[in-house]
Amino acid sequence: MTEEDTTTSPRNRFARSILREKIPVSRWVTNRILGLGAINFYLFALLTITGTLLMVYYVPSTTQAYNDIKDLGTTVSFGSIVRNMHRWSAFLMIISGFLHMSRVFFTAEYREPREFNWLVGLFLFLMILGMAYTGYTLPWDQKSYWGLTIMSQILEAIPGIGSKLQYLVLGGTEVGQNTLTRSFVMHVKLLPLLMSMLMAVHFWRIWKDDHITLTFAGEDHTESPNQLEQPSVTWRYILTRETSKFLLVLLFVLVFSILFNAPLEEQANPMVTPDPVKAPWFFVGLQEVLSWGAPFWTGIVAPLLAIVAVAVIPYFDHGREGIGVWFHPSRRLSNVLFTAAVTIFIGLIIVGEFMRGPGWIFYWPWQHWSVN
């Protein structure tokens, strides 16, 4: 066979044209070293797969759910590793989602024309939290039960429709089987479906916004970090890079899951609230805020204000300087404010998690409190 023969055979033509050809991609893609957004996507895939495996055994019943989770940890082959992977990927996704948003903020990449995608991203992040929350309710242990109780009482504090909404969410007047079923439906169907759709929009906007910025740069002839470069990388390079990244994420979660077991508290018991009862770590900051006053202000107004504040950032910041640059000097004030807000959030979590003892009384981390 001659050279010509191999290069014109259909298979090679495919390889040449698709995989080896240099393609023009914007620096937004080629320069992504961390690629936290992609990592989020891989974690979503991992969660879907492990979640599907868990569903084979799990029955969302108040009498059976707890034992199913126990069984997964004891009698099912590799059950505990799969459950651990599901849990640790979820935690990782909260963290990498948060880091992804911080990265976008610190490099000012939420600015026009990407405001809309910032909003989509924010909703995706809230849905990650929603998934984590509903996921917490499914084992039907004490954390599940009391988490649901507190959440439903917060809903009731919404003026006007509060108690009606609470009735719908609980499926009755108290936390019970209907509540668990509803939580389950949200966790395995509604939220994943919405998230997949929003993710598609998110990815599409990345591509679309790149082209819009290219047009901008072409119009005013300014050097913009957003412009598409000369063809520089091949699909093969991108695929190799991303597959390796996926493998790294997978290995990390796998090793972590072999080493550390996901906890399970005592079975849900409406008669006894553990003292202290702590929300899952990503909500313990909210629990701390809840301890300050009326649920209407601390459980509804405060979180809503925080969400709205994040959502409107791109609509207030019309600067054009420092896009795509980490910690650009012209953005010192915004960066300081953002860092302060994040510090407060993390501080609330630390106070709630490590400095609150029985009766939600303040303790320094080195002070001991007896569990009763």
Binding site: W146, I150, G172, M271, V272, D275, L290
Partner: protein, 154 residues
């Protein structure tokens, strides 16, 4: 003739939209209504809590129904064990003569009044009476004042 045709087309157009919107709207309303159950398999709101003679002096937690039954001499009273802040089950502290909530630290005095937030509303007291068979009968549907009690000579 021409006018007739446009107005007919207009009419059909509107009819189409009307049918479309009312169908979708109706289905949505029905779907939301479906989420609110009409029959609840929850515990009854009126129930018996045993014989007065089985209660010594003091505050007694009835776990299954999340209430406290109090006895002072021959007077019996019933109060909710559910924190009015966000619904956690409270514990009675004999030391401080107060109910304490483990979730966000609310404290209630012997009368059910808030000593320490974040709770704002006092604990509800429930109607208590003696049923025909001599057992104490609590009715969660009836809120009463903290002094409401039933006197039983035991």
């Amino acid at each position: 003739m021409f006018i007739d045709q446009t107005s007919r087309r207009n009419f059909i157009n509107r009819l189409g939209w009307g049918v479309f919107l009312s169908t979708i709207g109706g289905i949505m309303v029905a779907s939301i209504r479906l989420l609110a159950p009409n029959v609840l398999y929850e515990l009854p709101k009126e129930f018996k809590v045993g014989y007065p003679k089985d209660y010594p002096e003091g505050v007694h937690f009835i776990p299954a129904r999340r209430i406290f039954v109090l006895r002072e001499n021959n007077r019996f009273r019933a109060v909710s064990a559910v924190c009015t802040h966000l619904g956690c089950t409270m514990r009675w502290s004999e030391q401080d003569l107060a109910w304490k909530c483990p979730c966000h630290g609310s404290v209630f005095n012997e009368k059910g009044g808030v000593i320490k937030g974040p709770a704002t509303r006092p604990l509800p007291w429930y109607d208590i009476s003696v049923s025909l068979d001599g057992q104490l009968l609590v009715d969660l549907n009836k809120d009463v004042s903290p002094d409401h009690s039933v006197v039983v000579n035991v």
